[in-house]
Symmetry: C2
Subunit: 356 residues, 2 copies
Amino acid sequence: MPLDLTADVVDLTAALVDLESVSGNERAITDAIEAELAKAAHLSVTRIGNSLVARTELGRSERVVIAGHVDTVPLNDNLPSRNDGTLLHGLGSCDMKGGVAVALKLAAGLPTPERDITFVFYECEEVDAVRNGLRIISEQRPDLLEADFAILMEPSDAGVEAGCQGTLRVEVSTTGERAHSARSWRGKNAIHGAAEILNRLAAYEARMPVIDGLEYHEGLNAVLINGGVATNVIPDRCTVTVNYRFAPDRSEAEALAYVTEFFDGFEIALTDSAPGALPGLDRPAAKAFVDAVGGQVGPKFGWTDVARFTVLGIPAVNYGPGDPTLAHKQEEYVPLEQIRRCEQTLRTWLTSGPGA
Amino acid sequence: MPLDLTADVVDLTAALVDLESVSGNERAITDAIEAELAKAAHLSVTRIGNSLVARTELGRSERVVIAGHVDTVPLNDNLPSRNDGTLLHGLGSCDMKGGVAVALKLAAGLPTPERDITFVFYECEEVDAVRNGLRIISEQRPDLLEADFAILMEPSDAGVEAGCQGTLRVEVSTTGERAHSARSWRGKNAIHGAAEILNRLAAYEARMPVIDGLEYHEGLNAVLINGGVATNVIPDRCTVTVNYRFAPDRSEAEALAYVTEFFDGFEIALTDSAPGALPGLDRPAAKAFVDAVGGQVGPKFGWTDVARFTVLGIPAVNYGPGDPTLAHKQEEYVPLEQIRRCEQTLRTWLTSGPGA
């Protein structure tokens, strides 16, 4: 059944939720979106895999990206959608088909915005970064993403969450010497040796820097621990996997240096790293947007694709309907009022912009 | 090829090593042993599975068990055997076909010992206790094992290792509360909570009680540690598997009470337990044997099947050729001199006993 982009934004959200699109299975939803956008004469549409870029070309003085991923985490007995009059329930309702519906309504319904708009609907945000549609576009066609400002419609309770924290992962290890556990004094216990790693983590005090008026909140946590050979052998190795979430005033290199110093004396190996994104609220386009939303801005603690825009030199914020803590939960839902408010706020801002 | 029980004990050891008998595959070696023992008119032979009991019935005032397992740990590119003139190399040479060869020589070659002898050749010592041949005999036919004293021919460098330490295993766990690692302060990290478990273990001081003149040496060690859900989730559970090796003056219940007290404040679950065995050197048969060997006695730290005899009320010691620390190693070997010395010592003792 084709999507109706003239429908109410809540009904459109429900239609998108009912179009199952677990990561890797975005062809149908992308086909449906492409078919409708192709009808809009004011949009220039490019498809890359199962991702779409749709641009107005009005020669405005500012260009804004409005982006959302169309995939969801796996099914969890939470389809089809259910509208209880206040909340829309179902897989992807919160993360983030409410935001996608808002973007689609604007794409189809605003032929002459005062700011040029680049709409991005992309695949595979919920899986390995290598498959991420926004990443693929930014590498293959960065020209398509050029803009003064970007809005990523991730759930943020219809408030602006600016920037995002970076994340890195290290494995901190101890070594020992194997021996039969009946003669343990002949070996050296690597798990006992990890006590100091855990002591330092337990005593860690989080840094909470204020950037552009927003208070971030770092975290340094053991997320996995593994050690041991067999139940009768003194273990010769223990590895603690540590996740550091760092505020965006630190680069990845600075974050790694901090962790390396923190675990001084232990073997350490970097296994994953992604930069944070500065809020960029000093940029005119960002300021105007925050004013339009009503001046309410908070920091984004989790890592999101806004960091990909930062790497491209584009300030970006998260702004979309839905409670971010409901993302990936079976019982996820999105408040109807937030979907409507986001649509209205963006419509007002985009049609009252700086113009030509 | 049939076994030749009239051959030199070293050659017999080599023949036994070359008869591969990894746990579960003892049929061939047991058939070969049974065929030879059946020829000895002075022995009454009973087969249970792939285990054999061969008894003299001379009405002597004392009865001694001489036992050895015929299985080995898995192949590790260490067959066939190799005799370098000083050492016999190969899978099972140390653990414990040298000891089995000694017992076979005595079984076939001593028709009228001064002590009645119960020879036991049993299967599946290297695997789960439920398959252990000595355990099966002790449960199905405990009458076959009745004796005043038992010698288990586990490698002990041809010295007497008396009794054995008990062993138990507990899982000590912490619980926390999951949260996204980007907002870690909303959860409670169970891995960080395990720091105190490791601190106590690292500070543990071993008890070393002296029993019947032998100094035992306990050990309390983390052997496994596991915690964590995913690399972006604050872990809600961490489990440390702890192995307690306890001296034989403590019962299993006392050992568990000690560990429970040691980890006071933490969730604890018992997963495995086996009693120790007191050295029993105050018994006349044990004294006589130690004197015959030359008075050299040490404590046995590792758990062995001697504890099964203790449960039956029979004092038991470990006594066999080979370095116990070489057991289960690819490069295991047994010194020829130790095989010959064990055979000679036992022969002398058995033929100069208390008689009728």
